[in-house]
Amino acid sequence: MSKSGVKEARYKLVLGYGTCGIAAGAAAVKEALEAGAGSYDVDLDIAGCMGFCYREPIVEVIDRQTGCSVTYGDLDAKKVSRLLEEHVGKGAVIEDWVVRKSDDAACGEGDFLANQHRIVLRHCGLLNPESIEEYIEQGGYEAARKALTTMSPEEVIEEVGKSGIRGRGGAGFPTGTKWGFARRAAGDVKYLICNADEGDPGAFMDRSVLEGDPHAVIEGMIIAGYAIGARQGYIYCRAEYPLALKRLDIAIAACRERGFLGRGIFGTDWDFDITIKKGAGAFVCGEETALIASIEGKRGMPRPRPPFPANQGLWGKPTNINNVETLAAIPWIIEHGGEEYAKLGTEKSKGTKVFCLAGKVRRSGLAEVPMGYTLRQVIFDVGGGVREGKRFKAVQMGGPSGGCLPAELLDTPVDYEAITATGAIMGSGGMIVADDSTCMVDLARYFLSFTQEESCGKCVPCRIGTKRMLEILTRICEGKGEPEDIERLQVLATDIKAASLCALGGTAPNPVLTTLRYFRNEYEDHILNHRCTAGVCPALITLSIDPETCTGCGACVKVCPVEAISGEKKQPHSIDADKCIRCKLCMSRCPSSSIAAS
């Protein structure tokens, strides 16, 4: 959409155009901008997600004369004409809509970015992901050129080893060591796979990187392929990420045109190309051996290891699998040196980690912080803490394989070993914040129902064990729990962890174990007192109307599907507990927030 080739306009408007932006209405904003921009001195461009997901749709207005930029949030089509008229036309900043200004980091939501350290996300939201030129202007593909033309594969591996980077997909295996295994594996034909099967609910950093900076991932793959000796790379990406797939397609085609992919890349005699494989929706395919089975066109079921994929992977050949975030950091490491990367972080966890802040946090979005930051810094300094009037209760890390940590553990540093010691895992980077309206038993049940559904069914502990655990959790949530159930859960969890074939089963009990450890009182409350203090579990709550604040407007009466609410007009209403099905429709409709669940 930019008017390339003509004289540069004074202003450049960059619209956040990732999935989150589009879901929030960026398409309508784009249309309005295109329709209205004609009469102004302005170029239009798009970019991926900047990370301010909570303020989408977002437009950054860059003044090329002064070099200053102002980012506006919560836009819609109607606001576009005022933005063009006042800011672009008259140079007047519309203060009320400002998210961030380049010359004043402290204004607006500036501290959201100020508390971050962006390596993986260095281009996200700043470059047009569909333009290889913009990536090259920022020094893109220089790291790949440097690796291929001035370094031996062993030197590349050594550099990555020095950086101390560990697999960002969750397991945290040192990347340099992993590459070394694949390099040394016997065989001429080797494969490199980029794992973009981001399956954890609540994690979207891979999507954001693929949508916002696909070239960084491709450049990382070129370097990795060269280092391990793989001439063919695969990107295994979820089919649920159509925009990421589209941008990868565009990026790969542009690379082939420029000789960055294909035969004799970067003028050397090294060949490397990439094929995209669309996943078909199976959480277990995040597991290496299941992912390989899926690329081979089979049911995505894991197999016992050894042999490890580094020796016998795709089509029986040595295969190296890395996560999107790991690969996106590689060009930076080659460009700046492993030692520079290792300056960030803790003794055993180096560099930065991207987290997806979501749930009951004020600023949900992408946060990239150096390892060693505490959870408190991530959630409160970057994320702005929990939403209005609520109290922080827990943070869930690592999705269905992870755990829930209470407020007392907020000073735990972001470090593989420190997080594992709490019973949670670093995981891929999902961070869901829960407040006092979140029921921890329900949350554990939610994760178990997810893993139970996604269990591939191959091994018994996972297939049947998770089913039994889910049954117990369901009956606890329904108020039918027995005092022995806590013990039963613990025994089952221990067995499933010990006996499952792959990491899906091996980590599935974590959400239950951590909630049992830190929120045992909630389980006991459900079982012994038939009470859900968070007001979530339908069987254990009653809805009631506060007669002091009820205005008798009757809105609740209209929405109640079972006619459980009655009362005189303009008089306090009441709910018939026997009829009430606790659907909470009335709660979401009440204008005076007079209805409470207890």
Partner: protein, 176 residues
């Protein structure tokens, strides 16, 4: 911007084998092409009809059980036709804690169907999906090509009503 509405695209009828022919040619001789073949077939026909799978197995040299095994393993594949609009209610973690179960319940109430079912008039099919990766807008529902975020149960009725009568509704969120 799209002039034609993508969500109302017609799928090929299952007795028309021309699209299948094209798919078989596209992947001829490719190793491990079962999943992309099934994906393309579903895109062409809207779902994986038994006739299509039988024909694919015969022509591409697979056992029907192989294709059926793959089609039932991955959540993307459907063996039943869907309604005109597919409603996907996100049940990712962020959406769950923000009340996604209440959203699904209200859609069921309004349409008189259960999860996985299609309304008798063929208008809507209701599905639950795992995280669509737009957690900051939770809870989220996707109807056809339109995404609705920060939902409340009380907003469902009006949204669904918008799909009756107003034929061109889906065009606005479409970008191509």
């Amino acid at each position: 911007m799209a002039e034609e509405c993508a969500c109302r695209q017609r799928f090929a009828p299952v007795d028309d084998l021309a699209p299948l022919e094209e798919i078989l040619n596209r992947y001829r001789g490719e190793r491990g092409a079962v999943i992309p073949m099934l994906q393309d077939a579903q895109e062409a026909y809207g779902y994986l009809d038994e006739r299509i799978m039988r024909e694919m197995a015969r022509r591409a040299g697979y056992q029907l059980s192989q294709l059926y095994g793959v089609a039932t393993f991955y959540t993307q594949f459907r063996l039943q036709p869907i309604g005109e609009y597919l409603i996907k209610v996100c049940h990712g973690t962020a959406c769950h804690v923000a009340g996604a179960p209440l959203i699904t319940e209200e859609v069921c109430n309004q349409l008189g169907i259960k999860e996985g079912q299609t309304t008798p008039d063929g208008k809507f099919t209701l599905e639950s999906v795992m995280c669509v990766g737009a957690c900051s807008l939770s809870p989220i529902m996707i109807v056809g090509e339109d995404t609705y975020g920060k939902l409340k149960p009380t907003s469902i009725r009006k949204i669904l009503k918008g799909y009756y009568g107003e034929q061109e509704k889906g065009a606005e969120a479409e970008d191509e």
